[in-house]
Symmetry: C2
Subunit: 247 residues, 2 copies
């Protein structure tokens, strides 16, 4: 469902003490950010919070009110510190219980009834009214309820869930962008004229991104706009400005 | 300054459209998280927001009220999209102007007055009352004002600034932790007894972290406590529980 006029927005909520302690390095934020940009969904904010019910519910409340879709990662396993599904049900204001569709998925993975113990069945606790999101790797599903999309924290599973849910999402007009290498010119040399180009092209977002390779800076000027035709005159203005500084 | 009784907390605010678009992958959150844990400072929350004054000021207000220290990264360069210093001054409620100490640092890098243009001098705009944080790489300093620590977004510069500011920070008692490899035992097999161990050791934080290598899960159970003597009995209980499952 692509709507070429509206802006579709998103936020990410990463749930997990292990990210905040630095023990686990998050690999999901950058992946989801790039994926959503490719879909034409604008990521507006990211938060990382601990495995604490009050913190999680408060963050869900704040973020889902601001955006079209809130994506969460982490906290949907079978152990006592996995409390995401309950927090989402509470924040969205629906009940939660074992979902027959989710139980059936777990039965495929654990055909022996002894293996499908109480802890594993916790992974089939799904907020009422949710749509399930397939997990081809370890079966325990993610889900989407209201505008909240709940995914695993393990990157390979999260990525598979994102592929599974993407076709169901509303998407907006894709942001068009062009990147210009300043070819060694430092930010301080072009900052003032670049600010003037930005003023003259208010519908194009112009950013300057320094990169230090340990020896010297290599900067990129990135121009973004929802209409490709806005981009070209701004790009020409930046190129002309850089050329005049080099001459 | 180590205070062995108090808990010192922190939050991180990452500022930058380029992180939200996925164009740049953040490398600072995980680094700072691990660094703070090593210092005995507990990271409580992370947010990523766009280069937008209202969003930045609101996030500074919310986060700095919750924690001992708020660390920001990004948005302190010379271009028009670098607005962090002004936002911090506004949030903290102090004025901002060119700081003579910061101007002197920039003069060392740009001895020719023609090179120290208006845009580069923007990097010497510092909120009133701030302490500067040295930048050995490109000289433009970070700063600390009230409980907000403002650092560059370029990872190598941010890391140098963190080293520079760390000795000035209050630190708490270091979190002690121990990690137990479950040696192939899946989460679903130990989730219920692990929950019982957590109940019996409420002062120890017990987490279970699945890791999927593309073939199978390798899980770690991590126990954390501020008192090493609390950790040992909980560790023994987890080991005994895992041994009983394997037998």
């Amino acid at each position: 469902m692509t709507d070429s006029t509206s802006v579709v927005t998103a936020a990410i909520l990463v749930i997990g003490d292990e990210i905040l302690s630095g023990r686990t390095k998050d690999k999901n934020i950058g992946y989801i950010a790039e994926y959503l940009t490719g879909l034409g969904i604008e990521l507006r904010e990211v938060r990382v919070v601990p495995d604490d019910e009050d913190e999680i519910v408060a963050a869900i409340d704040a973020l889902r009110a601001k955006v079209t879709y809130l994506f969460t990662t982490g906290g949907i396993g079978p152990t006592h510190d996995d409390i995401t599904a309950d927090c989402v049900a509470k924040a969205v204001g629906v009940g939660i219980s074992h979902d027959e569709r989710a139980v059936a998925m777990l039965r495929e993975r654990f055909p022996n009834p002894d293996d499908l113990n109480e802890a594993r069945l916790r992974m089939a606790r799904i907020p009422h009214g949710a749509d399930l999101i397939d997990n081809p790797i370890s079966r325990a599903p993610g889900f989407m309820v209201a505008n909240v999309i709940v995914m695993a924290g393990v990157p390979s599973i999260m990525q598979a869930m994102l592929d599974a849910v993407a076709p169901r999402l509303k998407t907006g007009r894709k942001m068009q962008s062009v990147s210009i290498d300043t070819d060694g010119l430092p930010e301080g040399a072009y900052a003032t004229p670049l600010g003037a180009v930005q003023k003259a092209h208010p519908d194009v977002m112009i950013g300057s991104y320094p990169n230090f390779d340990g020896q010297r800076f290599r900067n990129q000027i990135v121009l973004r706009a929802r209409e490709a035709e806005l981009l070209e005159p701004a790009r020409a203005a930046v190129e002309a400005m850089l050329a005049s500084l080099r001459s």
